[in-house]
């Protein structure tokens, strides 16, 4: 009995933790907070999933501009073999190791460690500050960086899921997908709300949830009605489709819809 209660309490705490994290991401999209469980071994602080303490770091969300600048800075030229190109050719490759150093200099804003983070006017970490920051145990910093990178990367599994759902969503007979993944959900919700009501990504989290629900129902109804009224037999049907809420497809604004 007590075990069951413990389990329920545990799952409740976990739910709260997830909700808190989602709130942070929604209301503070410019920052990414990462947490690493740690323990002190042999006199230094190392990541440890079962550790008794926790360290946190706050990174600036990786923007297109940040990534572009860091990639430009870390690119180098590699000669491609003659076998591959039939002649002498070169390609540009990003130095993935140096990239991680610049990522820390550019995006690490603060942390729970006793080393203050200082930035210059251009937003980069000062050299003196980086000297101290880079002197923390490598495994600890690696854990922070890895967790931050996870927030940016699209995993292979996620990409496969997007492939599967898009194949359904954009097919001629597609009526939407169940349990939409983050990419589909973002695409549909932001796409529709921005196109129809001019509501941007910044405003959406602050919108009244009831209003959001009502508008979502209306978009869904409109989508259903458009589908029912579309001419049968394929002639003159919609050439392109914009995805509605919950992954439902509806004709785009530019398509003529027969009146009832």
């Amino acid at each position: 009995m007590s075990n069951e209660l413990g389990g329920i309490m545990g799952s409740g705490l976990q739910a709260e933790q997830i909700a808190r994290q989602e709130c942070e991401e929604l209301y503070d999209p410019d920052h990414v907070r990462v947490r690493v469980r740690t323990s002190w071994k042999m006199g230094f602080c190392l990541p440890d999933e079962d550790g008794d303490s926790e360290e946190t770091a706050v990174f600036a969300t990786m923007t297109f501009g940040d990534n572009f600048a860091i990639e430009k800075g870390t690119q180098y030229e590699v000669e491609l073999g003659e076998k591959m190109t039939g002649g002498k050719a070169t390609t540009h490759v990003t130095d993935i190791v140096e990239y991680k150093r610049l990522l820390v200099k550019r995006n690490l804003l603060g942390w729970s460690l006793d080393i203050p983070i200082e930035r210059d006017e251009s937003g980069w970490m000062t050299p003196e500050c980086y000297e101290r920051v880079s002197s923390v145990p490598a495994p600890l910093m690696e854990s922070f960086v890895r967790k931050f990178e996870e927030s940016v990367e699209v995993s292979e599994e996620e990409e496969k899921r997007i492939d599967r759902q898009c194949a359904l969503l954009f097919s001629k007979s597609g009526h939407g997908v169940a349990d939409a993944c983050e990419a589909v959900s973002l695409f549909c919700t932001l796409g529709n709300f921005s196109e129809k009501f001019g509501i941007s990504r910044d405003y959406l989290p602050k919108m009244s949830y009831k209003e959001f629900l009502l508008l979502k129902i209306m978009i869904s109804k409109e989508s259903d009605s458009s589908r029912h009224n579309a001419p049968k037999g394929g002639g003159g049907g919609a050439l392109s489709q914009i995805i509605g809420p919950g992954g439902r497809a509806r004709p785009s604004r530019g398509t003529k819809i027969a009146l009832p």
Binding site: G43, P47, V78, E79, D95, S135, P139
Partner: protein, 162 residues
């Protein structure tokens, strides 16, 4: 007529960039790696049929040796990994040469060992904080089972969080 030099005007930005004296004198924080931040790999071995066999702990007739490594900091890790990473244009992937990576770790992070207690020829020496070629050669002349064990124990701390 005596000429009085005007005082040098110091820009405020320049003053701010100079580290404060009290900050300079401050000891490193508890998370910072210093030269004294080391860990030790103990090696227990017993001679059997003319060769050394590794044992799991101390005991009768078991020889104990230790190798001391420095913990690496983030900057050192980046530098060492860069040296061991190359780009394979054919496969279009970055490749890490693990043997080279282990060599760089030993050359840059190994501080001392006790194998030189009866043999000064095996004394570990550094030049510019890197093992000298002679010291690296001495390391490579250890029995392969010793080398493999030392590398495994070193990587347990450096790569797998102890």
């Amino acid at each position: 007529m005596a000429v009085v030099q005007s005082k040098e005007v110091v820009k405020q930005g320049e003053v701010l960039q100079q580290p404060r004296v009290d900050e300079k004198l401050m000891k490193p924080g508890k998370y910072e790696i210093t030269n004294e931040t080391t860990f030790t790999v103990p090696i227990y071995a017993r001679e059997k049929d003319g060769r050394w066999v590794l044992m799991t702990g101390p005991g009768k007739g078991i020889d104990i040796n230790t190798v001391v490594f420095r913990m690496w900091n983030y900057n050192e890790e980046i530098e060492i990994r860069k040296l061991a990473t190359s780009y394979d244009a054919g496969k279009r992937v970055h490749m890490i040469d693990n043997d080279a990576l282990n060599r760089f770790k030993v050359q840059r992070l190994m501080v001392s060992w006790t194998f030189d207690k009866d043999n000064p020829r095996l004394r570990i020496q550094h030049s510019n904080r890197v093992l000298t070629d002679e010291s690296w050669a001495a390391f490579t002349q250890l029995q392969p089972n010793f080398i493999s064990f030392i590398l495994d124990e070193m990587n347990k701390v450096l790569e797998f969080n102890g």
